[in-house]
């Protein structure tokens, strides 16, 4: 197990180094890197000064070693637009996204486990059919379109929720629901499938034969094992959640990492894009390792291998 984990960490480290190298060379791919780092309307003097200051006039190998040094010391450049270090911008934006993602994921998992379990209890039944259709529809709906349709209906027309911004409960309702749609749709299908397996298994039969109450059989014996499948897809979910957060934060004007990134792309603020991407990638690699560990603790079969 330890060797597996260390291999996993080593692979992630290699992947991260690869990403850093890729970011560096992508930035030089288009020719003049000052085009990428400076806003498009920067004057010629600013460009020259910038190129000299950051060594863009030096050989590429020298630039690269300098870039690696900077990344290693946590210096990811300076946002020209915001006049602040890029890493600071990313650090300020992260809590918002983490809170949004955390609330969404918790709700999605709880709801999907309930819906999936009930649907699997009577496969082909009414609830199962409704659940399948709605989870398919949830997976097919473009999130940005759902978001602005919800704004139109619930904010503009009905005036129930605020259109955008960060605040207390009413501000959270629409972003969380929109962000939840896709992970919920995916999870319902996963939970339903593994619940079908669990309900047909020998240990469920044993529990029933022992005279355990039906509710306990379903929600304790079967569901506990079916929940393992949620952990299996958690990594994919988290990755998908970041895609969704970019859209949701942009539409609802949340100052999170997704909005920061898109704004930076549109304003052509390369240091911020670079910092946001590197930090997010690191977070995802760490998350994947945590998920592996979690899986090992939850599943005795893996633990004893």
């Amino acid at each position: 197990m330890l060797s597996y984990l260390s291999r996993r960490i080593a692979l992630s480290a290699v992947a991260l180094i690869g990403l850093v190298v890729a970011v560096f060379f992508l930035a030089r791919l288009t020719g003049d890197p000052t085009n990428l780092f400076l806003p498009i309307d920067a004057s010629l003097e600013t460009r020259k000064e910038f190129a000299q200051k950051h060594g863009f006039d030096r050989p590429v190998s020298e630039q690269f070693s300098r870039f690696v040094q900077q990344v290693a010391t946590g210096d990811l450049g300076y946002s020209m637009r915001k006049q602040r270090p890029a890493l600071e911008l990313v650090r300020d934006a992260y809590p918002t996204t983490l809170k949004l993602a955390g609330v969404t994921l918790t709700l999605a998992i709880v709801l999907a486990v309930i819906v999936g379990a009930v649907a699997a209890y009577r496969p082909g039944g009414l609830f199962d059919r409704i659940g399948s259709v709605s989870s398919l529809a949830a997976a097919s709906a473009p999130d940005f379109w759902v978001a602005i349709s919800a704004i139109l209906l619930f904010s503009v027309t009905l005036g129930w929720f605020p259109t955008s911004g960060l605040g207390d409960f009413p501000y959270w309702v629409m972003p969380v629901i929109v962000l939840m749609l896709r992970p919920f749709g995916l999870l319902v299908q996963v939970v339903r499938a593994s619940m079908l397996d669990a309900l047909a298994s020998a240990y469920v039969k044993t529990a029933r034969a022992k005279g355990v109450r039906e509710r306990r059989v379903v929600f304790v014996h079967a569901l506990r094992n079916a929940c393992l499948s949620v952990v299996t897809v958690a990594g994919d979910l988290a990755v998908g959640l970041i895609n969704g957060a970019v859209i949701v934060e942009t539409v609802f004007g949340w100052p999170g990492i997704g909005k920061l990134m898109i704004d930076a792309v549109i304003q052509r603020d390369f240091p911020t894009v670079q910092a946001a991407v590197l930090v997010t990638a690191t977070a995802i690699f760490i998350l994947n390792i945590v998920i592996d560990l979690l899986y090992v603790t939850l599943d005795p079969r893996v633990r004893h291998q």
């Binding site: 059919r129 379109w145 759902v146 349709s149 704004i151 139109l152 299908q189 990594g235 970041i242 991407v277």
Partner: protein
């Protein structure tokens, strides 16, 4: 299983399993998938002839017919779905935009299938080391949010159609790669491959003539699901303003443009989004039908002439 249940009121004779139904009969049995397939055929027609037929109408500015609500027929059938702030017909614009939207998705999926499938064949058949390197690379791509990847690449390169297709294809390659490799690892141990090897077939010959035909149907099945995923991704990028750039139009871009008129003309953003959703839904329904048809364990659901819905997936 319920068909064999003697206690149920359905007698064994009334369950009429017909083997050897042709594929369109099987499609007809699944009404959801049938409607989905018909919708995709309509869309394909729009993609092929739409821009030539309605290109002029889609760009025609008519200031007397500005911001018409859907359902207003006084200005002709072209305005049936309303018009935008310049009086351009929504219907014509939707049909013209279908070409970009659907062709970008289709090309990305095709590129991903060809590259991913080829890499998967190589990873599964050639050597262990080569296979490992390919798999680790795909791990990296897969554990990275596709939108971030698209953001970096489209930032550095121009947001042109080709670049968009490349980015979207890269994010989808791992799924084909994995499936192709897994299948090859199983197929290569079969007797007919041994026979081909014994007869002196070269590696390329065995891969191309004996293994590829077995793997291909599975890859084509994934394509229908991926088509929906890629279309959503492209729409998202265009909506964010880093995908297709005006004056070209796609449905995603139309939603973004209509967003500014949300409170005055809701249909400008709503209808293109609905078009995206219906197209993805059709692809998803069709793919779940294909999965059932390809699966010998589940195929009876369609062969039994009952009211089996297309969404019963196990």
């Amino acid at each position: 299983m319920s068909a064999a249940n003697a206690s149920s009121s359905v007698s064994a004779e009334s369950v009429n399993i017909r083997r050897g139904l042709s594929w369109w009969q099987l499609l007809w049995r699944d009404k959801f998938a049938f409607v989905g397939a018909m919708w995709l055929v309509c869309l394909a027609a729009c993609v092929i002839v739409g821009p030539e037929l309605l290109g002029k109408e889609a760009g025609a500015i008519n200031l007397r017919a500005r911001n018409l609500a859907p359902g207003s027929l006084e200005q002709g059938w072209l305005m049936a779905l309303g018009s935008d702030a310049l009086g351009r017909s929504m219907l014509a614009r939707l049909i013209v935009a279908s070409r970009n939207t659907l062709l970008i998705a289709l090309s990305s999926v095709l590129v991903a299938m060809l590259v991913g499938g080829a890499l998967g064949l190589v990873a599964g058949y050639v050597g262990r080391n080569v296979g490992n390197v390919i798999m680790r690379l795909s791990d990296i791509v897969q554990s990275f949010p596709s939108l971030l990847l698209a953001v970096i690449v489209l930032y550095v390169l121009e947001p042109a159609v080709e670049n968009l297709i490349i980015v979207l294809a890269i994010t989808r390659i791992p799924s084909y790669l994995r499936v192709a490799r897994a299948e090859v690892l199983e197929i290569r141990e079969r007797v007919f491959v041994d026979a081909a090897r014994a007869l002196g077939g070269s590696r390329f010959h065995i891969l191309w003539r004996h293994i590829t035909p077995v793997v291909l149907p599975t890859l084509l099945t994934i394509m229908t699901v991926d088509f929906a995923i890629v279309m959503l991704a492209e729409s998202g990028l265009s909506f964010l303003g880093i995908g297709i750039q005006p004056p070209e139009i796609t449905w995603g871009l139309m939603v973004a443009q209509g967003r500014n008129y949300l409170s005055q003309a809701w249909w400008l953003a709503f209808l293109p989004g609905l078009a995206i959703m219906l197209a993805t839904l059709a692809a998803n329904l069709l793919s779940s039908w294909i999965r059932i048809v390809m699966d010998p364990v589940q195929r009876w659901r369609l062969e039994v002439g009952s009211h089996s819905g297309g969404i019963q997936r196990d």
